[in-house]
Symmetry: D2
Subunit: 364 residues, 4 copies
Amino acid sequence: MSGSSFGKIFRITTWGESHGPGIGVVIDGCPAGLALASEQIQEFLDRRRPGQSRYTTKRNETDSVEILSGIFEGKTTGTPISLLVRNQDQRSRDYGNIAELFRPGHADYPFTEKYGIRDYRGGGRSSGRETIGRVAAGAVASLLLKELGISVRAYTKAIGPYSIDEADYHYSEIKENSLYMPNNSVAEQAGEYISSLMAQRDSCGGVIECIADGLPVGLGEPVFDKLDALLAQAVMSVGAVKGVEIGDGFAAAQSSGSRNNDPFFSEEGRICKKSNHAGGTLGGMSDGSRLILRAAVKPTSSIARTQQTVSVYGENTEITVLGRHDPVIVPRAVVVVESMTAITLADLLLQNMTAKMEHLKKIY
Amino acid sequence: MSGSSFGKIFRITTWGESHGPGIGVVIDGCPAGLALASEQIQEFLDRRRPGQSRYTTKRNETDSVEILSGIFEGKTTGTPISLLVRNQDQRSRDYGNIAELFRPGHADYPFTEKYGIRDYRGGGRSSGRETIGRVAAGAVASLLLKELGISVRAYTKAIGPYSIDEADYHYSEIKENSLYMPNNSVAEQAGEYISSLMAQRDSCGGVIECIADGLPVGLGEPVFDKLDALLAQAVMSVGAVKGVEIGDGFAAAQSSGSRNNDPFFSEEGRICKKSNHAGGTLGGMSDGSRLILRAAVKPTSSIARTQQTVSVYGENTEITVLGRHDPVIVPRAVVVVESMTAITLADLLLQNMTAKMEHLKKIY
Amino acid sequence: MSGSSFGKIFRITTWGESHGPGIGVVIDGCPAGLALASEQIQEFLDRRRPGQSRYTTKRNETDSVEILSGIFEGKTTGTPISLLVRNQDQRSRDYGNIAELFRPGHADYPFTEKYGIRDYRGGGRSSGRETIGRVAAGAVASLLLKELGISVRAYTKAIGPYSIDEADYHYSEIKENSLYMPNNSVAEQAGEYISSLMAQRDSCGGVIECIADGLPVGLGEPVFDKLDALLAQAVMSVGAVKGVEIGDGFAAAQSSGSRNNDPFFSEEGRICKKSNHAGGTLGGMSDGSRLILRAAVKPTSSIARTQQTVSVYGENTEITVLGRHDPVIVPRAVVVVESMTAITLADLLLQNMTAKMEHLKKIY
Amino acid sequence: MSGSSFGKIFRITTWGESHGPGIGVVIDGCPAGLALASEQIQEFLDRRRPGQSRYTTKRNETDSVEILSGIFEGKTTGTPISLLVRNQDQRSRDYGNIAELFRPGHADYPFTEKYGIRDYRGGGRSSGRETIGRVAAGAVASLLLKELGISVRAYTKAIGPYSIDEADYHYSEIKENSLYMPNNSVAEQAGEYISSLMAQRDSCGGVIECIADGLPVGLGEPVFDKLDALLAQAVMSVGAVKGVEIGDGFAAAQSSGSRNNDPFFSEEGRICKKSNHAGGTLGGMSDGSRLILRAAVKPTSSIARTQQTVSVYGENTEITVLGRHDPVIVPRAVVVVESMTAITLADLLLQNMTAKMEHLKKIY
């Protein structure tokens, strides 16, 4: 129970360290009969793969996935799906010089205190490579959702101060720029901003937005396992995320009830909302409108500047974090946020099947 | 598994509807030997009790707690602690007129879709009274934490646009104003703002901040059960919360690595941080500094203005939500956020006991 | 997580001590739309109630159940069902004399070591009254199963050496004798046997058998949550149970493959088995034939004879357990075993709904 | 949640099919700082490896384990331990002829009904090879227990009718015969019995006994997660097991309270029992004496005789199960039962750390 599992029915368990033999995930509880090929998982992994643009680490990993179980003749069998990605470019020598120092902004210090031992090579379990398991599982969850007409998409809303208003979104441009922003010209400005920070051996953060369409009404379990609550856990559990909001989020705190409530109306037999300040959830359940969440991503902690720190022996000293690091992790984290959202939705979709006797009678 | 349990070792299960016989919670996994009296739980419940100021619902409930199990001769026995609060002032007639309408901003519509049946009296399970179980359990968790030198405090940081900067905090003033703000003069302005909204049959929201001191280093489980991730679930699961952030939160997304990283230093054998942009967590584990989280609370959905909506039969219509409602729920939600934080910390404190062989050898 | 919950989707949490204010259970995850009245639960509780025959404790308890939540207008709402039974006849003075002694065959000694504190009044949490919560939940599970055409029945197969062969079963006689045996004349002999043991201040045990009919094929999750494995946990968790077997059980260990395998045949489009040595499970899943399990119940530990023991101070001494005790608990445990079986089946029935995409497409 | 995980804190998740790329397990929650080398895991796997005697399948597998994560410089790090065993000798052509038939005694029929798809090659997930993950995890659990002075040992008590009384046990002989019996001469008779069955293309079963010494008092959680209840689940979840008993088990049902109760006595400050009919548990918790459990193993279902069965198309037909099968699986299942016992104990040992405030104060 050291926290490596997520989900109740569609339940994933990830494992692996940055510089060990590999990284992987076991998905238990995926329904049988879902068509699944390794290429479909690879496509997701390629979206988070390093070395794709000038804004990402130069570490060279193909991150090829191998399906070890759970698939027979191209379909899921209902048994656990085990996925493996071997680590290849493990230059652990890069980390030798920081084995005895606690990097500011990193997990090094509390990890050492908690476990009394630490795999100092590249962050070990706390490395960004840990997200490979999430993304591989996210691919499977996304395919399951797609079968039921549900789509999930994430993109970069902001890089540092360069933020795009919803009015200026061009979804088609997301894949046209290496920052995955829905506006190419803002993306260009943001790119220059990143370059200027790189020149100063500094880094930046940003905001990722994720939307889901096609959800049935009623996903999410009242009280503790609300749709928004589980999404908050899912997304906040991604390494550098420091904040999560649904719909208007923090802005709602400054609104009034009369403005913030979304009025209902009925049209052609369907119940709709005139606005969507709520971001698609009411009482912790999906309300049939678009789900909208945002995650605040902090600036990359690994910077090549000299910083003040403490050694594992408790001595005051300085550190310069070398190695290959992203000046901003937002673009690569986009698919991670999308994956965590898909996994959460797939799990709640399965949980919701048992909500009423009417459902049981359709099956038994 | 309809989502009424939270925590893994210190595990709470809440139950009860707004207008049923009562509300309660079962705490399973509280260690034996903790001194616990019903007065200590009552003290917490009194902080969320309605009818205490002009800004809270006029519903009259004493919310007296009865301990049904788990205590013997003033101490916890290690067996489940069952706590019961009877509902008293159940004017369900107030809700008769809205039994057939979906209130905007409420759970009514998705609840009905999900379950095919709805206890329309006061929101049923989705009522704010559901938090009674959380607060009763939070009292127990807080006492456990206190035994180990850990304190948790929440307060109102902002009401609508009236927000207090950390520089202007006077913690001693929190108990001096009915909004639980750490600055009496801002509280006064906020009070006038609320009054003006009440006059317009409108409502507002705000921001709750919660801090915890005295935490050991290393609480939180890497990957999915990170300290910040579980806090995000815990706090986002509270009815009207639409956003959660840790430390600098969304502001961190606009910072740079060199400013956002908190440098370590060593002093008298202790490892400390020069700043606390991280809000007390690194890599999802407590880092020994103050834990800081904030929750965005939306404006009360129940407003006495006429709103557009749809009936359970799918007809377009209008609704005026009468009954007794808070113009702002922030002050009463303060103790709920504090409780959810305490419960999360108590659970992770117990989970962390099994992190290393060194701990086992101290006990066996 | 002190072990008071059972089930994953249909999840029950019991609480309460023998001599505290009451005993109860919270059922989370019962589907909405199931008709449920307190009389139906009471009927189950009456089957385990003390004071019904000369073979049961004279403790006088009406064990009336109160439904505290989860029901609206006679139907489950999908929210947690909280059930409460107040303790009434709490003569804790009977236990004063054994507060400082460890009763042989009881939980007293390990409980004290584990928790450092013990509610010595009547066994506290380890009392047979703990099963009230199981039976109340079992009533709900049984009603759910009944809606889907599944019946569960338990009865006494043996009292001490008086055992009934399947060939001699008369199911209609189960309710005709106070030992719940499917053969009145064996029941009479067994009754005399119990009387002779009572005269010697001694006690006896027996075997309970439980059968379930109408199960769909495929209940049970391969590997750890097999139908038989979860039934084994469910039934072995009942206080005095020391052994569990499915189908031929221990006798199968002496059989051969050619005799023990149940041949399949097809009849009118249904797949059936010629025999049922397996007791209704194959590979941990229900196979469509009758489910059969047996539980071995040890003799009542509380006997009025003088026994050797040790005090809480570690002194060698003697004990005579007075108070009101059953000379054999088998008849009252029948409904407990039936309840645990029903709860396990209800939970696996819900889990199985998510097994294949085909099921999802029927609902979404 | 398709049932591939076991344990709450020391939690294992197994995956893999008989004829897929491999089999494995992820152990989450193993404390940091435990010395662990792949040779130690291999030693356990070698005990269940096929091809070791004339009574085991001729399938040729080296079953070499690779540690993929969780170990750094020879010690566990507190992160998930991922273990992989590649399948090598996958003659799936052997199974082609039975792809369309349901083998009696096997999971084929309910598996197909449940999932609508079945990996028919060698039983797929329901193959005995699934236990590789259990045994690899069992090795880790056993090492953890050993560090705390706890030993677990299993052996063959009976093969068909050839059973050994406790009085005739010679523990040192267990490793001297290929049936793992604690009596060489009974083992010889049993061997002849197996040979005679093989000649008749038949198979047999037997009884495995497992004992654990050195347990602290108080392991096991009252009510549903009793030590005996979780052991029952753990052991009954092993493929061919049809019954589980603790201590005197089914024999206790025929005993009397005065004979079955184990009297306590105190000696040199330790509390002991004069007898151990209970098999080391009281009230579901370890009582400090030897833990004793037995598992009934059914005869191997795969026999080379012609049996009556049904095809996947529902036609009545006959089947002859060729391929390489053990005439008795008991000897190879010994280490599986030992492993499941060790895993259960390790998990309850960790759970028990949080039982009382006294323990918390030793650590925080």
